[in-house]
Amino acid sequence: MISAYIPIAIFVVVATGFAIFTLVFTSLIHPEKYNKVKLEPYECGIEPATDARDRYSIRYYLIAMLFVIFDVETVFMFPWAVIFDQLLLFGLIEMMVFIFILVVGYYYAWQKGALEWV
């Protein structure tokens, strides 16, 4: 029983050891030069405009909710994709019908202005 966990124990030891080794080794050899760029969150990419822990608009909830609904529907696509090679054309048509129904809902939300940022 216990022997089954030995690879995991070795993995934990190696991972921890590697982390400690890198930290200690770099602190020994790195040159001590500080500047402003080093303290920024990203060395490259978009400059952060404000603090990350900021309040954001309640209107975002509508988009978040729409996202949740459409996102979770993909749960039906995974099993479909797994056996797609057996379902063939029939499976494709079935999935097209499913997606078509989703698209009608999406179209409705769009037309009713649910996606506009008023």
Partner: protein
């Protein structure tokens, strides 16, 4: 075609396909049309009519489709007709109500169609998965419909209460279903029935039955799981309340019969005892609580709780006669309940909410037809001949006596006598009081049609009940025609 699926499966679910397609068309039309266009009412009625027409080829079929997910039989057909009639009457009574409340039509009608679709799936499902999906299609639509009048705090409150308790009861029901699946190894109710023979003493199974009973009792609003019903019925928009009390209740009864009569016939000693006790408390609590109500919608909510109790008598009897009596009573109940709510919808004017008992005072002097209609519905709900409610109760209690539950019938009759008090109180207000409140209530053509159909049905079925009897009998016989159920009967 992959194995196990054939094109004929799609043929047999044609009514559901038509309804789904119609609902999608309605959404697109609503997105294109200007806000508040009345054309949507006609589109909705056309979709319901098309669905009803597409039911015609399945008058005498009795098949299982999609490897036993749905049954297309007369039992399902009977309920589908009830749902479509109820939905059509709801749509007819909604238009003016929504105009007065200043609500939009599109989503409303779409949700009505969606909940009808869910009900149709519930009535046909002989599998836990399809039953659950149908139940949720219906329930989620109703959560939104209950809170449809967004600026109205009562409507908000009704929606929150209905949603929380509905979701909670769903959790309990699903937990019971998951145990049923675990014990039987199948979700198909007819297979389950054969697997469970000889496992009556399995404690896990008894637990599952109790959980499923509790979950279903929530949906049919039976005591002690009825607490949501009065609040939701009172707060929801009146047409929604009408549809909720008829469609949702009928669909839940259909699902209940499918699960217990088709899926768990070998456990009948357990669930029959539970339903017997629940029927007694439900009838009594519903009627006693209704006595003191001053709000009409709340009174009718308690009355509908009491009716759930009467209907449970049919489940307890469990014989084909009991089940057919239940089906007949459900149809009759749909007409009288929808009609009574249509009168309350009529009472909603710009200046009056119209759901208090005193708002009805002097109605006879202002709207004699509406007052007469309400009189018929109240007599029918109370079970007075020559209305349909009397015939329905007669069959229901007759079936109970037939199956050996004499005292259950006695309690039912006593309860009907108690209920007459509050039904007749409404009549007294309408006919004997003189003083009136607010502006003149008016009947729109659609409301007149709804009331006319409901009155005609209530009276005709009371005088010629034979019209329905054979149909309901045949429907009840197709339920659980599988070997185990038949053997236990």
């Amino acid at each position: 075609m992959p194995p196990g699926i054939s094109l004929s499966d799609f043929y047999y679910i044609l009514p559901e396909i038509v309804l789904t397609a119609g609902a999608l068309v309605l959404l697109v039309v609503d997105a294109r049309l200007p806000r508040g266009s009345r054309a949507l009412t006609w589109v909705t009625m056309a979709v319901l009519l098309a669905t009803a027409v597409s039911l015609v080829p399945f008058r005498n079929t009795d098949v299982e489709v999609s490897q036993g997910l749905l049954a297309v039989d007369q039992f399902a057909l009977f309920f589908k007709v009830v749902f479509l009639v109820a939905a059509a009457m709801t749509v007819l009574m909604s238009e003016r109500y929504l105009q007065v409340e200043g609500a939009s039509f599109g989503e409303y009608y779409f949700l009505i169609l969606c909940s009808t679709l869910g009900m149709m799936i519930m009535a046909g499902s002989i599998d836990l998965i399809s039953a659950f999906v149908g139940l949720e299609t219906m329930a989620v639509s109703f959560y939104i419909l209950a809170g449809f009048i967004k600026p109205n705090q009562r409507s908000n409150e009704a929606a929150v209460k209905y949603f929380l308790l509905g979701a909670f009861s769903l959790g309990i029901l699903l937990y019971g279903m998951s145990i049923l699946y675990g014990v039987s190894g199948t979700t198909n109710l007819r297979t389950m029935a054969t697997v469970f023979v000889g496992h009556e003493r399995n404690p896990l199974l008894v637990l599952a039955v109790i959980l499923v009973v509790a979950g279903m009792e929530f949906k049919i609003a039976a005591v002690p799981f009825h607490m949501w019903a009065p609040d939701v019925y009172e707060g929801a928009p009146t047409p929604v309340t009408a549809f909720l009390s008829v469609g949702s209740k009928a669909a839940s009864f259909a699902m209940l019969l499918r699960i217990f009569v088709e899926g768990l016939p070998s456990m009948d000693a357990d669930w029959r005892l539970l339903f017997e006790m629940l029927a007694i408390v439900t009838m009594t609590v519903g009627n006693v609580a209704a006595l003191t109500q001053s709000n009409l919608k709340r009174m009718l909510a308690y009355s509908s709780i009491a009716h759930a109790g009467y209907l449970l008598i049919g489940v307890v009897a469990g014989t084909p006669r009991g089940i057919s009596a239940m089906l007949i009573y459900l149809l009759i109940y749909s007409f009288m309940q929808l009609g009574a709510f249509a009168v309350i919808v009529m009472m909603r004017r710009k200046d009056v909410v119209g759901d208090e008992l005193k708002d009805l005072s002097g109605l006879y002097h202002r709207q004699p037809f509406a007052a007469f209609a309400m009189l018929v519905f109240m007599l029918s709900l109370g079970g007075i001949p020559p209305t349909a409610g009397f015939m329905g109760k007669l069959w229901l209690f007759g079936a109970a006596i037939d199956a050996g539950y004499v005292w259950l019938a006695v309690i039912g009759v006593l309860n009907s006598a108690v209920s007459l008090y509050y039904y007749l109180r409404i009549v007294v207000f309408m006919y004997l009081k003189k003083e009136t409140i607010g502006s003149e209530p008016t009947l729109s053509p659609a409301l007149t049609l709804t009331l006319g159909v409901a009155v005609a049905a209530t009276l005709v079925l009371g005088v010629y009940p034979g019209l329905l009897f054979d149909l309901a009998e045949a429907s009840a016989r197709t339920l659980g025609a599988s070997g185990v159920t038949a053997a236990i009967r």
